[in-house]
């Protein structure tokens, strides 16, 4: 099929003049080599010159053209229209990546995004010998550890897809900032690893508030897998001994303790160990669960068969300390 008819609903709003947003509807013929950005251009050039969006490079490098297509974070210059049609059908909705941050049409205020980016100190901090005798060589093996985190184009696709940032906790740094943090904590030349890790360890803002939903990984147009970087940051927190002793870190460690003992997880013990005295606040829920036969008592806690094997593996395979 050469051309396809598509209906596109376009979010329109001007913060300076409008009280409420509205949607404009366009019926367009789409050819198979067009990307989303081509359609934004056609709307502006052929239908309404006041339509506003960001774009610059058209090559997936500047990171300015992110929008949402049917709720999905999309880099407009990279995403092919036929793929969007295959995914969502012949009626598509174009919206800014964040409606509550919109300035005009597809353009959003990225201030909070950049503030969090800045909080990561996004530059190399290193003691540099001003008169080096030889080149500072980074081996390919060391460079690979960064796992392409330096390819991030700050498009925000991940950030505006993150439910914690957007639905529950505006303080949360979010995936893009963590990719940036990891880009430096994994860089052998950087001398500020410990302080960087302290920043991402903070409860309420840091990595512990991630709900592990993988929205960021799914959204990233550069395939950087932000969630994987977040896991690496968690690992580094323990490796470098930076991690604070709190409910979140104990929760991670508690799994090992329980597996060592039972093979499977002792849910009650995990909550008690993680929370300390805070465990008391779970009593009402625990009571409801107990009434419905959802609480296993310590004396009837099931164990994995061949527990000795598990114990031995925990002993010989452990790599982290708390």
């Amino acid at each position: 099929m050469e051309k396809q008819k598509v209906t596109i609903n376009v979010f329109r709003f001007n913060k300076e003049t409008d009280y409420l947003p509205h949607y404009d509807k366009y019926e367009l013929e789409i050819s198979k080599d067009e990307v989303v950005l081509d359609i934004l251009n056609r709307i502006k050039w052929e239908h309404d010159g006041s339509f506003t969006y960001r774009r610059s490079c058209r090559h997936g490098i500047c990171g300015s053209c992110a929008i949402k297509v049917n709720g999905r974070s999309t880099l407009a210059c990279k995403e092919r229209m036929i793929d969007m049609i295959e995914l969502f059908g012949n009626e598509l909705t174009f919206e800014p990546v964040s409606k509550k941050r919109v300035v005009k049409d597809m353009v959003v205020d990225k201030k909070d995004f950049w503030d969090k980016y800045d909080a990561m100190r996004p530059y190399l901090i290193a003691k540099i010998d001003e008169h080096p005798k030889s080149e500072n060589i980074v081996s390919p093996k060391e460079a690979e550890k960064i796992e392409e985190a330096d390819y991030c184009i700050q498009c925000g696709c991940c950030y505006y897809a993150c439910p914690v940032v957007n639905e529950t906790n505006e303080e949360y740094f979010g995936p893009a900032a963590f990719v940036k943090a990891y880009r430096f904590t994994a860089d052998i030349r950087d001398n500020d690893k410990e302080d960087r890790l302290k920043i991402v360890d903070e409860l309420g803002k840091g990595v512990w508030d991630c709900v592990k939903c993988f929205e960021c990984t799914e959204a990233c147009p550069k395939d950087l897998d932000p969630m994987k970087k977040i896991t690496h940051l968690h690992n580094q927190l323990f490796e470098e001994g930076v991690v604070q002793n709190n409910v979140a870190s104990r929760h991670a460690v508690g799994f090992k303790k329980s597996i060592e003992k039972h093979g499977i997880l002792d849910e009650g013990m995990l909550v008690a160990y993680s929370e300390g005295f805070g465990v008391l606040k779970h009593i009402p829920e625990a009571f409801e669960m107990w009434k419905n036969g959802k609480i296993v008592m310590p004396w009837s806690m099931p164990k994995s068969k061949k527990l000795d094997e598990i114990k031995k593996l925990v002993k010989i395979s452990s790599t982290a300390k708390f």
Partner: protein
């Protein structure tokens, strides 16, 4: 058709969601599927052990898969997070011989070897891919036609999609998933379309960020309520814990009273196949499903 799987139960089915275990076994029995329970298995680490000790979690998950390999049976999981961690382990080891060798060095100490010879799928996808929706439809004795059922997919069965496309034949879209909807339709129920069907319940931040978790749980339930759902169904016991047990906390967090019966996937299937409420353990659900 005779299907046989190695069942990795996960911890939750043995502890806080006994109804998941009961209903899974009941459904398997109704459909004539044979299950070998992997009693040797350990916890998958639930994505939290992974934060502390990644290598240890790889070794433990590889060991779990070894036991399915020993039976030479495809492995199935009944928890999204178990599926995620088992699949992640499989993908990483199958694609990285060096890492696989390192893990096997440890496993050798207990006389095991991870080969990568069996598949690892969630029960949902095994049912769809092997048993088939049409065959399930034929077994329905109590059609769910009078119910609006909101499917709640749970993150770890659909994201990251690349991983799940590696393990499943079904190429589910993370943005427009359809498998649960289709299954609901096969049971003759009306599947509810709502925005939060593929969103997160917040479970993994329950302890350290309860406001986040309760809000996400609340938002999902409210969305289902506003789209006239009579109940929600989920393939994940962790989602189930949040959605079923925390409705009071979620109501407080979002400032609106929520009430919604939440069924485990095999509970829903079981009821349609003619199991009694007891057989699928409905008595364990905290938010009671009054309609049965």
């Amino acid at each position: 058709m005779s299907l046989k799987y190695a069942l990795y139960t996960g911890c939750t089915a043995r502890e806080s969601t006994p109804e998941l275990m009961k209903s899974t076994l009941a459904v398997a029995k109704k459909l004539g599927i044979e299950l070998v329970v992997l009693d040797e298995a350990s916890c998958c680490g639930a994505s939290h052990l992974q934060d502390f000790d990644d290598f240890l979690s790889l070794v433990l998950n590889a060991r779990n898969i070894c036991y399915a390999e020993k039976h030479n049976l495809p492995m199935i999981t009944i928890c999204n997070t178990c599926q995620l961690n088992t699949a992640l382990t499989k993908e990483r080891l199958d694609n990285n011989p060096e890492l696989k060798a390192k893990v096997n060095e440890k496993l050798k100490e207990v006389g095991l070897e991870y080969k990568g010879s069996v598949s690892v799928r969630h029960f949902l996808y095994a049912l769809i891919e092997d048993y088939g929706l049409d065959n399930i439809r034929k077994k329905v004795v109590k059609p769910l036609s009078s119910f609006n059922i909101a499917p709640f997919y749970g993150c770890h069965n659909i994201r990251p999609s690349e991983l799940h496309h590696f393990t499943n034949k079904t190429k589910e879209s993370a943005y427009n998933p359809t498998s649960l909807d289709e299954l609901i339709e096969a049971l003759e129920g009306n599947s509810v379309d709502y925005e939060h069907k593929n969103k997160c319940c917040g479970f993994h931040a329950d302890l350290q960020a309860p406001h986040t978790a309760n809000r996400l749980t609340g938002n999902a339930i409210v969305d289902a309520m506003d789209n006239n759902a009579d109940m929600m169904v989920t393939p994940c016991p962790l989602c189930h814990l949040n959605l079923d047990v925390k409705q009071h906390a979620a109501s407080k967090e979002i400032g609106r009273e929520v009430h919604m019966p939440i069924l485990h996937l095999p509970q829903l299937i079981g009821l349609a196949l003619g199991c009694t409420p007891e057989e699928v353990g409905l008595n364990h659900n905290v938010t009671k499903a009054e309609f049965v």
